[in-house]
Structures are given as structure tokens and as C-alpha cells.
């Protein structure tokens, strides 16, 4: 049974289709990244999962239960971090922790998290920097060791050291058999810690792939160097995309089978040199947003 099962989820605000028919599953022990630029529908989808907003259509199940009907029960096992980390400005971090302990029971992890994140729990939230507010949000999401973590942009505003610490925590959670769904527009972050990425564009899923599959997408960049005439027209005629032209050569992007273009290139007597590279993950990712 999948920890999260989403079927044909739609959320429309009037004419705006914030989420438009997405379906996906997250299995136990996975870290899955919701990837996409601002406005792709990541936060809206997360808010539907958390039952903050109600789907226009579709079905969401968490731990096999309807996420709306069993919202309060399910939240015992869910740790959530919102994208803004908005907290009570007149309270200290410790007061937030105490408040959640009264609702959810005593935490065994809060002291360790406070120490490792180097967080001053006695300062009022109004006196905390954005990064420190984020730390408090993370402590509150993790302190009751939930089986499922739903995190909206968890590392925004954190320095690289703390980002790495968060990655370690998330990996440790998964090692314990817990599950993480996190949104991000930071590809490097998703590449670093996620098992799979759900790539969203304008409310729709463009692909759901493992990180290795995503990396293995057959997109190549070919640099061809010529002596004298550069056969630009001939080379771009069969689907190869011209990236740039320079003195004595050009750079081409090729998707799919590379062999026909290579055969064509080697037939040119004036071909001086050839350089073929795999596209970076970022370039693969950008393909979805064209």
C-alpha cells in the first residue's frame, strides 16, 4: 500500500487551474521531490494533501485513508512544514514546542534538534531571522517523529551547512522507514536527496522519474569543429537544434538517437574535431519547461 496515493487531483480557483489532474503515488521509505518553478502547483497540491484546501476533483489517500474524511487522525502521523513558516510572533520557540507537546504529547527529539540546529528556543519569534524561523518550523515538523513528512521548500533561507544537516535528518527519517514528500524548485537539492522527482508544469505532471532515469535522458550536446565551410543548414535539417555558432564550428543539441547525426558529420571531409557530452540534469529539467 502506498503511503500517499493521489488520483486525478484537480484544484481550480475560478478559471485558474492551479492543479489540473495529477496522479502519483509515494511508497513507504521514499523521499520524493515535487519539482517545478513558482506557480507550477506544488504548494497547492501539498495544501490539498494537508486538507487545508479541498480538491475540485480527485481522490487523495494517505496511509490508505481518505485524506479529507480522516484529516485529524492522519495528522497524528504527519509532520508538515509550510513554505512560509509563519509562527506566533509574540511567542518564543519554546512556547511553540510546549504548545505542540500539549496537543501531540511529549517529544523525545526536540532537545536534540534544538542542539543540532543551534537554535535559541528562548527568543521570541519576532526577534528571529528568516533562517531561524525556518529552523523552528523544521523542529516543529520533526519533533514528534512522524511517519510521513510533507515539507514545502524545507531549506529555503538556510545556509549550506544547515541545508546539509536537514538532508541528513531526512535521510535518517527514511532509514527508519518513514516517508518524505518535499517540494523544491532547487534541482540540485532534489538530485542530492530524492529517490524520485515529480516534475510539475502549469498544474500538470510532466514526468515522474527516478533521479537516475532523469539523468539518463538521452539529450546530448555536440560540438563540431570544421576547417573552412561550416555546413549549418545540412546539420540542423534533421531535428538537431542549433545552440550556438562560433568561428569554425557550432554546438548542437540532439534528443534521442545520436547515430544518424554522427554518420552525417563523419562524412564531412573538413570535419576537424567532435566533442559529445551528456546534458546536465538541469538541461534535462529545462526541457520540460520549454
Amino acid at each position: 500500500m502506498a503511503v500517499i496515493s493521489v488520483q486525478n487531483l484537480k484544484k481550480h480557483f475560478g478559471k485558474t487551474k492551479a492543479v489540473d489532474g495529477i496522479s502519483f503515488e509515494v511508497e513507504k521509505g521514499e523521499i520524493v521531490g515535487f519539482l517545478g518553478p513558482n506557480g507550477a502547483g506544488k504548494t497547492t497540491a501539498i495544501r490539498c494533501l494537508m486538507d487545508f484546501i479541498r480538491p475540485s476533483e480527485g481522490k487523495i489517500e494517505i496511509f490508505g485513508l481518505d485524506a479529507r474524511k480522516n484529516s485529524a487522525i492522519l495528522k497524528k502521523d504527519i509532520g508538515h512544514l509550510s513554505s512560509e513558516s509563519t509562527l506566533y510572533s509574540s511567542w518564543t520557540g519554546q512556547e511553540h514546542i510546549n504548545f505542540l507537546e500539549k496537543i501531540r504529547g511529549v517529544s523525545q527529539l526536540d532537545e536534540e534538534l534544538i542542539q543540532n540546529l543551534k537554535f535559541d528556543a528562548h527568543k521570541k519569534v519576532s526577534a528571529l531571522s528568516t533562517g531561524n524561523r525556518r529552523k523552528l518550523g523544521i523542529i516543529l515538523a520533526l519533533m514528534h517523529q512522524p511517519k510521513l513528512l510533507i515539507l514545502d521548500e524545507p531549506t529555503v533561507g538556510l545556509d549550506p551547512l544547515l541545508q546539509n544537516y536537514i538532508y541528513e535528518i531526512l535521510k535518517a527519517q527514511v532509514a527508519k522507514g518513514n516517508t518524505v514528500l518535499m517540494s523544491s524548485h532547487n534541482l540540485a537539492e532534489v538530485e542530492k536527496i530524492c529517490d524520485r522527482a515529480i516534475v510539475l508544469k502549469e498544474g500538470k505532471i510532466v514526468t515522474v522519474e527516478t533521479m537516475s532515469d532523469l539523468r539518463a535522458k538521452k539529450i546530448y550536446t555536440i560540438y563540431a569543429y570544421f576547417e573552412g565551410n561550416v555546413p549549418k543548414k545540412e546539420l540542423t535539417a534533421d531535428g538537431a537544434e542549433l545552440i550556438k555558432e562560433f568561428s569554425g564550428g557550432l554546438a548542437l543539441k540532439v534528443k534521442g538517437d545520436i547515430k544518424p547525426l554522427i554518420s552525417k558529420l563523419v562524412d564531412y571531409k573538413n570535419l576537424k574535431d567532435l566533442e559529445i557530452t551528456h546534458a546536465s540534469l538541469e538541461e534535462v529539467f529545462m526541457e520540460f519547461y520549454k
Partner: protein
């Protein structure tokens, strides 16, 4: 639910103390003033008799009781305008902050992410607000007792109980309406503006209805007509219709507010 209830009470405690101190200070001032008013009652009666009848009616002033008893004086000076204004400001402030204020600040997501149903969140907010109102109504009104004793003024305690009951019911209806508006709003200013606007119109209707005979039926559309402080504090009487109206309005709008809050989308910016 109890955690959220106590959290809301704690958060509102300073405001409650401030509002109560302001009201108690006015009560003290009026009680301290009353012995000199009583001493000069004949001259004051003459002065009041020169006033237009409609004006006295509009502010529910009965000349004989106004100068002849502490309850009449308090009715004209305190319960007619000052106390309901403080009460209304307090009620609107709490109700607007309860739901819309949490959404406005974004803190509602922290509550919604906890294993508490939306109904319990609504009820915790609702009952904490009602508790604050109850505390304010009784603390401010019964402060008459020590000040009257201090200044050797006769008082009828049961009349203050009666005015507290009708005052509480008046506040209950306004609080419930404002909570209902707060339930479908996402900014704190909206329920405050709508409820405030509604009460200004109601106050105007009640005022105009007492000046013009032809407009007298307008008073039935105003809560201020049913908030009959004069009968309560001067005569120790509460019309059952007034009680019923405030209760029905309060209960119906509370149910609507709870349903809206349970069903609505809650998205912070």
C-alpha cells in the same frame, strides 16, 4: 481543544484586563459623581425638562430615575452608550482575530497541521471568546458594588445582574455574527469592517426611529432596540423576546460560521 482554548484565553488576557480597567474606571467615576448629582436633582430635573422629548427618548433617559437613583444615572451615562461601545469594540476585535486573524497572519496552518478537527478549532476559538466576554461583562458591571459601598451610594445588585444578562446576550449575538464573517474571511479587517458597519447602521436606525414617528418601525431592525438596558438596570426587567432574539441570532450564526469554517479552503498567502 482545551489546549487551544487556554492558548486563546492567555493570548487575550492582556486585552481583557485593559478593557476591564477602562470600564471599571468609568464606573468608579460615575459612582463617585452620583452623590453630587443626587444632591442637585431638583435643579437637574428642571434643566432636563427643557430638553426635547425625542432626545431623551433616543438615549433612553427617564428624568426621575436618572437623577433619583444610581441605576437610573448609570443607565443614562454608562449603559446607554459608553459600555456597549467598549463591549462592541472588544467583541469585534476578538472575533476578527479568532479565525480571519490567524489566516491573515498565516498561523492557521500551524493549527490545521495538528491532529485537531476544524470543528474543534472553531469551538475552542468560539468558547474562549465567549469566556472573555462573560468575564468582561460581569467584572465591569459588578465593579459598581465596591465603588457604591465606598461612596455610600445605595444600589440594587439584582439590577446589575439583569443588565449584565441582556448585555451579554447582545454581545453574544454580535460575537456570533462576527465569528461567522471571520469564518469566511481571510483578512482580519473584513469581519471588523462588516460587523462594525452593520452596527453603525443599526444604531442609526434605532436613533432615527425615536425622532420620527413615521420611522418608528425601523427600530425592530436594530439590535440596540432589543438591548433594553434601561428596563434591565432601572426596573430589573428583561423582555423574553429580547432574550429569544439574541439567542436565535447567536445560535444560528454560530452554526453557519462553524459549517463555513469546516467546508472552506484555507490558503494563506
Amino acid at each position: 481543544m482545551l489546549t487551544l482554548f487556554t492558548k486563546t484565553i492567555r493570548k487575550s488576557l492582556i486585552s481583557l484586563v485593559i478593557y476591564t480597567i477602562i470600564s471599571v474606571a468609568f464606573v468608579w467615576m460615575y459612582v463617585a459623581l452620583f452623590p453630587s448629582i443626587f444632591k442637585e436633582r431638583e435643579k437637574l430635573k428642571e434643566a432636563f425638562e427643557a430638553y426635547p422629548e425625542g432626545l431623551l427618548q433616543a438615549f433612553a433617559i427617564e428624568i426621575d430615575t436618572f437623577v433619583g437613583s444610581l441605576e437610573g444615572f448609570m443607565a443614562g451615562e454608562y449603559f446607554s452608550f459608553l459600555w456597549p461601545i467598549i463591549l462592541i469594540i472588544m467583541v469585534i476585535t476578538f472575533a476578527s482575530a479568532a479565525i480571519a486573524g490567524e489566516i491573515d497572519k498565516g498561523t492557521i496552518e500551524l493549527l490545521l497541521a495538528q491532529p485537531i478537527s476544524r470543528l474543534k478549532i472553531f469551538l475552542a476559538k468560539y468558547f474562549s471568546g465567549l469566556s472573555i466576554i462573560t468575564a468582561f461583562v460581569f467584572l465591569s458591571n459588578f465593579s459598581v458594588v465596591p465603588f457604591a459601598t465606598l461612596h455610600n451610594v445605595d444600589y440594587r445588585i439584582q439590577n446589575y445582574l439583569a443588565v449584565s444578562i441582556i448585555g451579554f446576550l447582545f454581545a453574544f449575538a454580535i460575537f456570533s455574527i462576527c465569528m461567522m464573517i471571520s469564518s469566511f474571511s481571510s483578512t482580519r479587517g473584513r469581519p471588523a469592517a462588516i460587523t462594525g458597519g452593520m452596527l453603525i447602521i443599526m444604531y442609526g436606525l434605532n436613533l432615527f426611529s425615536s425622532f420620527q414617528e413615521s420611522l418608528s418601525s425601523l427600530k425592530y431592525a436594530s439590535f440596540f432596540h432589543y438591548y433594553d438596558f434601561n428596563s434591565a438596570v432601572v426596573h430589573n426587567q428583561i423582555d423574553i423576546l429580547n432574550i429569544a432574539l439574541f439567542l436565535v441570532v447567536g445560535i444560528v450564526t454560530t452554526i453557519i460560521g462553524a459549517i463555513i469554517f469546516i467546508k472552506r479552503d484555507i490558503a494563506t498567502i
